[in-house]
């Protein structure tokens, strides 16, 4: 199973790398952003889909990866001075720094998350997203609203004839995203994924079978954070700066939307979701450029940007209403072996999602996470 997953990952990575040669600089930059978002959404989808822990703060974990990258890459690049290898040593150190920073924050959050149920964890992570700009101002060294700069990584001499800068950054981003997501896919398919599903399905039953729910939840949160942190580090590498504004509430919500639209627990769905996060605003904007001519300037200015947001919202509602299991539900046949485990309602397969409009929400069959809050 592991070999098959790795093989598939290598194939997908090679296809993506080949695609970078066909794209122009703008699209290669967007591809790098997509790869970074893919790593974060994949981490989120495994976390929410397999353990049921809703994190609204994955943008902050990406930011942690980004700040970790900046803190490690800057000094290492400076220390090596004029050596031609300096930027690449900085890149590697930065990725490692991103892993350490996001892993540490993720482990802390995971320890708290292991004790919290659904909405409480959502509240905590939401407060974290709102506190990020304050933390950037209040903590010394984070550079406030402006953020901090990151050393530029040029194209290596050996590849200089083949690639330009954006192209090289896209290649790095794809490789890093592959290194972030493949372990998640292996984790999901293996013994640990089974433990996560057991904890989601019935915590007490899982405990009786010798699974420690707290440990499994905290571990899943940390693994998810590491992937998101690598995504953040890579996006910081490509944009050459890290600031709290880039990882705000809207972006964090978009990551959740991407994970749910793609289909919770599905890695392929995460790719679709990340594509949505990167492409949809652009696509709607581009479509609108052809429409209005001769509109009053005030109205045109107000429509600019806002109409894209309205359409995005409408598409999000339409997709989730048509397919509560996300796009992945369309891709996997219903007879597939692990369909039940992949869909969010998989914990109680006997509760049909097609409740009649006037039927009461079925409290009795709600999943185990909400039982404790009921009297």
């Amino acid at each position: 199973m592991t070999r098959r997953i790795v093989l598939r990952a290598v194939l997908v990575t090679l296809v993506a790398l080949a695609a970078t040669f066909l794209l122009d600089p703008y699209w290669n930059f967007q591809l790098a952003r997509f790869a970074a978002c893919f790593a974060a959404v994949a981490g989120l989808t495994v976390l929410v889909g397999l353990t049921g822990q809703l994190s609204l703060g994955h943008a902050v974990l990406m930011a942690a990866g980004g700040y970790g990258y900046a803190f490690a890459a800057g000094p290492v690049t400076d220390a090596l001075g004029d050596s031609p290898a300096a930027p690449y040593a900085g890149l590697l150190a930065g990725l490692l720094g991103g892993l350490v920073a996001s892993g540490a924050l993720g482990a802390l959050l995971g320890a708290a998350a292991a004790r919290l149920h659904g909405p409480y964890l959502a509240g905590l992570t939401l407060a974290l997203v709102i506190a990020l700009p304050s933390a950037a101002v209040a903590l010394p060294g984070l550079g406030g609203d402006q953020g901090i700069g990151v050393p530029f990584v040029p194209v290596p001499d050996a590849l200089a004839t083949l690639m330009y800068v954006e192209h090289f950054h896209a290649v790095v981003a794809i490789v890093v995203a592959a290194a972030a997501v493949t372990p998640l896919a292996v984790l999901r398919a293996g013994r640990h994924g089974l433990r996560m599903r057991a904890v989601l399905g019935h915590e007490t039953a899982a405990r009786l079978s010798g699974v420690n729910p707290g440990l499994v939840k905290a571990g899943a949160f940390t693994a998810s954070s590491l992937s998101a942190g690598l995504g953040g580090a890579v996006i910081v590498m490509a944009t050459q700066s890290v600031s709290p504004g880039a990882f705000g509430l809207t972006f964090s919500m978009l990551l959740v939307v991407g994970a749910v639209i793609g289909g919770l627990g599905s890695i392929g769905g995460a790719a679709v979701g990340a594509g949505l996060v990167v492409l949809l605003p652009w696509a709607v904007e581009a479509a609108l450029d052809h429409l209005p001519a001769g509109l009053p300037p005030v109205l045109a200015q107000r429509l600019d940007g806002n109409l894209a947001v309205i359409l995005t919202g409408a598409i999000v509602i339409a997709v989730i209403a048509a397919r509560p299991g996300g796009v992945a539900q369309l891709l996997t046949p219903r007879t597939a072996r692990d369909t039940a485990a992949d869909t969010p309602s998989g914990t109680a397969p006997d509760t049909a999602p097609d409740t009649a409009p006037d039927q009461a929400p079925d409290t009795a069959s709600r999943d185990a996470t909400s039982h404790d809050t009921e009297r």
């Binding site: 304050s134 749910v260 107000r302 969010p344 309602s345 509760t351």
Partner: protein
């Protein structure tokens, strides 16, 4: 000392609004077991309606009444419309629909009214009374405290002392049994949303004159703080929302007054973490069922 008294008083007034908005989140949670992420966006639409009526009629009171009615109608529309599109046995689809709704409403407001802050006048003076040389509450702050207190008391009495309140609670806690006993559960859920959004609209109305003004995102910060308040209080507990609201209001006021305003979200995060580490279900959580 003067400063402390002033900051605590101002914090209590802000805390009352926070508690009121948190109350609205608690009502929806109790009715439907969802966190309504669109609460701020729906409420701000009602506040726009309220100030449009005020501008047209010249009466703040008429506008406030209109805002509360519009808020209630929006609550019913949201629950009967988009929220019914998705199953409620898992929380996520509802959250995603709410986020989609937020995008549509806020961008729609920005197109209709422009991105500028529109200044809003309070119905009462905002200059504080001076008591023994110390500036304390302004008449408007006092008005906010009284209104928020009265509304929360009325809600508490309504939920615990009336037949309708009993039906609302029954529909929320045991929908199947309540249905068998003749409670019209879907109607009760819609009513819960109406009450919730009317309360949220009132909280928004009270807050906006003390802030920068009317804007599509004017209530976003209120929603996030109120969500933290509801979680700190224990999502099921109206009393918890009140206590936690006043607590967070005073904390934010003290931190902004003595340190910097930017540190306030960090203080809220710190308090939230501390409370959840000690009591994972919030301050006023019910006893937990035994697990293994």
């Amino acid at each position: 000392m003067d400063r402390l008294v002033f900051l605590v008083a101002a914090g209590l007034a802000h805390g009352a609004v926070l508690a009121l908005f948190a109350q609205s989140l608690v009502i929806v949670w109790r009715a439907n077991r969802v966190i309504n992420f669109a609460q701020a966006a729906l409420a701000v639409v009602a506040v726009y309606a309220a100030f449009a009526v005020t501008a047209a009629s010249g009466s703040w009171w008429l506008g406030a009444a209109a805002g509360i009615v519009v808020g209630g109608l929006l609550g019913a529309a949201a629950e009967r419309g988009p929220m019914r599109l998705v199953p409620t046995d898992t929380p996520l689809p509802g959250i995603i629909v709410a986020i989609g709704l937020v995008m549509i409403l806020q961008a729609g407001l920005a197109i209709a009214f422009g991105p500028e802050y529109q200044p809003v006048r309070a119905p009462l003076p905002e200059r504080p009374f001076v008591l023994a040389g110390i500036p304390v509450l302004s008449p408007y702050d006092l008005f906010v405290l009284v209104v928020a207190g009265l509304v929360m008391a009325a809600l508490a009495l309504g939920f615990t002392r009336t037949s309708l309140g009993l039906q609302l609670r029954a529909a929320a806690f045991a929908p199947e049994t309540a249905r068998l006993l003749g409670v019209r559960v879907p109607r009760m859920i819609t009513l819960g949303w109406v009450l919730s959004l009317a309360t949220a609209a009132l909280a928004g109305l009270l807050l906006v004159p003390t802030e920068l003004g009317l804007h599509p995102h004017a209530l976003d910060a209120l929603f996030v703080q109120a969500f933290a308040v509801a979680v700190i209080g224990g999502l099921d507990s109206p009393a918890g929302a009140l206590v936690a609201g006043l607590l967070v209001g005073v904390l934010v006021s003290l931190v902004s007054g003595y340190l910097v305003a930017a540190a306030a979200p960090l203080a809220v995060l710190g308090l939230l973490t501390l409370v959840l580490l000690v009591r994972p279900g919030g301050l006023f959580s019910a006893a937990k069922e035994r697990a293994a």
